[in-house]
């Protein structure tokens, strides 16, 4: 065991050294026993002296997340999440983050900037955020929408225990429910991020030199200092005015991303693609009955892999529910199956609603 640990440590050191063009003596060494990183670096470009510090990551949690979603009022989809921390976790979970939420959630207000940074606007923003997010007691939620230097956008919803953070969180062996929000977008499957509480990182100087490869590697480690689990996240925008063919295309595109997440078998995906194409063509040719048939066939294929998918929506906050999202069939994961089934059912419902409106006219 000691030999393998030493080997792992050495490999970690070597890999970093080979990858990085670090100054002589610099290194980042992972201790497999503690899971901590020892960082040796030059803190001053005018000196060859080396400094050292320890980074305790926030990944010593064993999280699982259960996603619930159902159609609410005014065509909004209500999302709810329950988070658990495994019994072997060494840290309490102190953040639950959902990324890739493109569109504003229901009730969200834009973050006041520049001339809008008035007390009234800030107070309204905070009140709207509080109302828009469902948050467990002694936690707070926030919505972040920023644009990075390269123009890419960062959109996330995050929940954390109220300060001081060390007093709260989800300890090992515990579960917390009540996280959620509403969105007009349909669910896809995206990564949720959960992390624990490491130690405050400190440097006895100004830290690694900016141009150092050690700095770049440490930044990469810190930017990925969390544990991910798949969750149902609003990623599929519903076209306005409603267009079944366009929506099916978006659902199909989202579905293809599940192959890389190992939530969908490529062969099964190809099989579903044929029905997707037929349905899309049918709706484009104004043949809704044909389209409906294709969708129902897809739903039957999914049902074969996972039964009682509809129950998950009714009992998404039921702690006694035996079913969980981690069960996998060979062809499609349960969460992916639930999401896809929900999205397809949504298309049918919208088409039925349109048909009903047409009859009433």
């Amino acid at each position: 065991m000691k030999t393998s640990r030493k080997l792992l440590t050495g490999i970690a050191t070597l890999a970093i050294s080979l990858h990085a063009h670090a100054y002589p003596g610099e290194s980042i060494v992972l201790d497999p026993a503690t899971g901590n990183y020892t960082i040796t670096y030059r803190g001053d470009s005018n000196s060859t002296d080396l400094s050292q510090t320890v980074f305790v990551p926030s990944t010593k949690v064993v999280p699982s997340i259960r996603s619930g979603f159902h159609l609410g009022e005014k065509s909004a989809i209500v999302y709810r999440y329950t988070v658990s921390n495994g019994t072997t976790a060494k840290q309490a979970i102190v953040s639950v983050v959902l990324d890739q939420i493109i569109d504003p959630i229901v009730g969200e207000l834009p973050f006041p900037l520049d001339q809008n940074e008035t007390k009234e606007n800030i107070d309204a923003y905070r009140a709207a955020t509080k109302a828009a997010l469902s948050t467990p007691a002694n936690w707070y939620g926030s919505i972040i929408r920023v644009t990075n230097e390269d123009g890419s956008k960062l959109n996330r919803v995050a929940w954390r225990p109220k300060p001081p953070i060390r007093m709260g969180g989800i300890p090992a062996g515990h579960t917390l429910t009540g996280f959620g929000f509403s969105s007009v977008d349909l669910p896809g499957v995206g990564p949720s991020q959960m992390d624990g509480l490491g130690e405050v990182l400190g440097f006895p100087d100004e830290g690694p030199i900016e141009s150092s490869a050690i700095k770049a590697e440490l930044d990469r480690i810190r930017d990925n200092d969390f544990v991910t689990r798949p969750a149902a996240v609003p990623t599929i925008a519903v076209p306005v005015p409603f267009n079944a063919a366009v929506l099916l295309e978006r659902i199909q595109t989202q579905m293809h991303t599940w192959i890389g997440m190992k939530l969908l078998d490529p062969t099964f995906s190809s099989q579903l693609d044929r029905y997707f194409q037929s349905a899309i063509s049918a709706y484009r040719l104004n043949q809704p009955k044909v389209g409906k048939k294709q969708i129902e066939t897809m739903r039957e294929l999914i049902e074969k892999e996972h039964q009682d998918l509809g129950h998950d929506e009714e009992h998404d906050s039921d702690k006694s529910q035996e079913k969980n999202d981690d069960r996998q069939s060979a062809l499609i994961g349960r969460l992916a199956a639930r999401v896809l089934d929900f999205d397809l059912k949504y298309v049918l419902k919208r088409m039925d609603d349109d048909e009903d409106r047409g009859h009433k006219k």
């Binding site: 320890v54 953070i165 900016e210 200092d225």
Partner: protein
Amino acid sequence: MVTPTLNATRFVQSVSLTLALYFSIIVILSMTMIKPAHASGNVFPIQAPNNVGFLPAYILQFLSVSGTLAEMQAAYNAWLALPTTVCRNQYGPVNCGDISPFSSVVTGPFYTLCPAGYVSGGHDCHLIYPISTCPPHSTGAPATNPTSCTCDDPYVPDPTHSNCILDQYTLSLRIVPGQVEPGKQATVIATVINTVTQKPAAGVAVSIKVDVDAGTGGHAHHDAARPKGSLSGGGSTGPDGTVSFTFMAPEVSGTHTFTAQCDSPTCTNNPVTAKIKVKVDGLELITASPYYALQDSAGKVIGAVKNKHSDNHYLTNAAIKKLKDFAERYNGTVLPGAKLYLNDASLVWGGLFDVGSTPWKSPHTAHDRGRSIDIRAENSGGQYEGAVPFAYFDDTIKAAADAHARAALHCQGSIVTAVCLGIPYNRHFHVDF
């Protein structure tokens, strides 16, 4: 002796006809004269000036002029007004080259002198070619009364080919690009043009030096040790008249001045200067906001050092937005009502931020590109106002992470521990966006 009488009308007519005749002759001669080839080294010969003299009586007879001395002088002056390149004898215009002595001399009230274009031969006046000489610094061919002149080396004809002058050169500088980031390269192109020919001048040795303008780039302090960057390359101009230098900008931002000159041969406009800005583009001033504090309660800008760095709150636009997000979280949730106290970000033009005791050196790593800022944290150094309390260090770091920023503690000279315990006299949060 017949005393001539002046018929004014006939005189004017006669003179007019004569003038017209001579003008025609001049034009014809000009058209037929073999002009010297004005190649690069050739200039026009200089024609001799007029001599004043009197016209012998028989000339006057030729011109059918008679009258008083004043009238004859007037006639003579009119004759003098004729172009001196026209050769003539008593019978009228002749081809220059003819030497035709006068056959008699008239005495009396008329002086006997040779008019312009004539050389005295005693009792005779001899016609000569128009006298010509070569301008200074040129050699004529033939040596006497030359018809062409060639400038002596190293002289060259001026633009009008009237004089021989030394070659003149003009130097200009162009910098590509016109602005460069700290630590990056730019090219300084020196171009030398022959002022006379307006063509590129090859083989001109050009030297250049660089200096930095005091007080620029956000550095109110200045000394001889301020980095100026470095220059390499150079030499003499090539066939296109240019020679290039590579400027490696220092890590310290500022305005740099290049001074160049032609060493051999010299340029008429020596020396020539051009400037380049060494700066990080796109930095904006962090403006006041309810989310954070830029000044302490005494109105002092946090982190500013008089006569050194008084303008220390610049970030990129994207970083400012993240900063506000982070600050709002701190103000709204971590410690409701409290503000982050913002210390050093970047200087107005970015670049190395020499906050340490040694000018122009690090540390203050990462404060050069407008993507980092220091924030007060609880410390023993006396900067208590607005410092993030120790109990909320974790929350602050997580709030920064939510805004997609990285916060960590920096503590110069402290014991190596995770929270810079020990002697955290200048412990602060360093935040990267």
